[in-house]
Symmetry: C2
Subunit: 126 residues, 2 copies
DNA sequence: CTTACTAATGCAACTAAGTTGCAATAAGAA
DNA sequence: TTCTTATTGCAACTTAGTTGCATTAGTAAG
């Protein structure tokens, strides 16, 4: 499933994420793109890009939504290819961590997915 | 460190959490206590109870803040006694999970704490 | 018990993230 | 080029959470 129309604004967002390796908050994206498009458009394109499996999102420590490259949707097999995220408490930068998440089994609970956020210092802030 | 004044409103919130084993969102708490106190008061007491180590908080899947019993502050030794949380996608109930969190070591990153949220179905919703 | 200090509260107004309805625009298929 | 409809911009809205300030009420000291 891909995005149905390759509009100017979609291209801009795709280009931005093409060279961006960090997870960006929607607030940052709206600000970065404020000259190019309306904030509503940013929200809506991000939503579509996530549905299309081009981006994935998570909620950071402050409750803000962040988006990063890559797919994290639930597959037809019910599995979810997922990974933890990191947030630097000094500079606020956030990245995907190349780790597998092991889901614990707990009596009485059926765990289907998880969100893991690690907090600390990134390389540049040590 | 404990709360400095044992006011009527503080007592009410402590009593509520005394019999509550789940993590409640601030929105729910404001609603539950709307007859007894102002929403600003709810926010402020929750903040103080967290600082005092009586409650701890986390951000749920929707970016809403939730509070539950117990301490999760960073201790003087720099260690943080922390655990994952569970959120039932059917009924919305949220609980603390009695599991230890193992912090991975990743080159170039210093990890100081983590937030882990497991999503799925609780006992009553299976 | 009374006084005095000040933490805590209520209220109203505010900020900020995210959403919605709708008319106008522009992909892109035919 | 035409036509359909997905997409956009805009304004107005919703909701979580915060702030300033005047008033109230714990509580320690006398």
């Amino acid at each position: 499933m891909s995005i149905s129309r390759n509009t100017k604004t979609v291209k801009l967002l795709l280009k931005l994420f093409d060279k961006e390796n960090n997870a960006l908050s929607v607030v940052d994206l709206v600000s970065i793109l404020s000259q190019e498009m309306n904030k509503t458009t940013v929200y809506r394109i991000l939503q579509r890009l996530e549905e299309a499996g081009i981006l994935h999102s998570f909620i950071d420590k402050d409750g803000l939504k962040r988006y990063a490259k890559g797919d994290q949707r639930t597959s037809s097999s019910g599995n979810q290819i997922t990974h933890p995220h990191f947030l630097c408490e000094e500079c606020g930068i956030s990245t995907c961590l190349p780790l597998k998440i092991s889901t614990p089994s707990i009596p009485n609970y059926i765990i289907k997915s998880s969100e893991q956020l690690y907090l600390g210092q990134c390389k540049d802030c040590q």
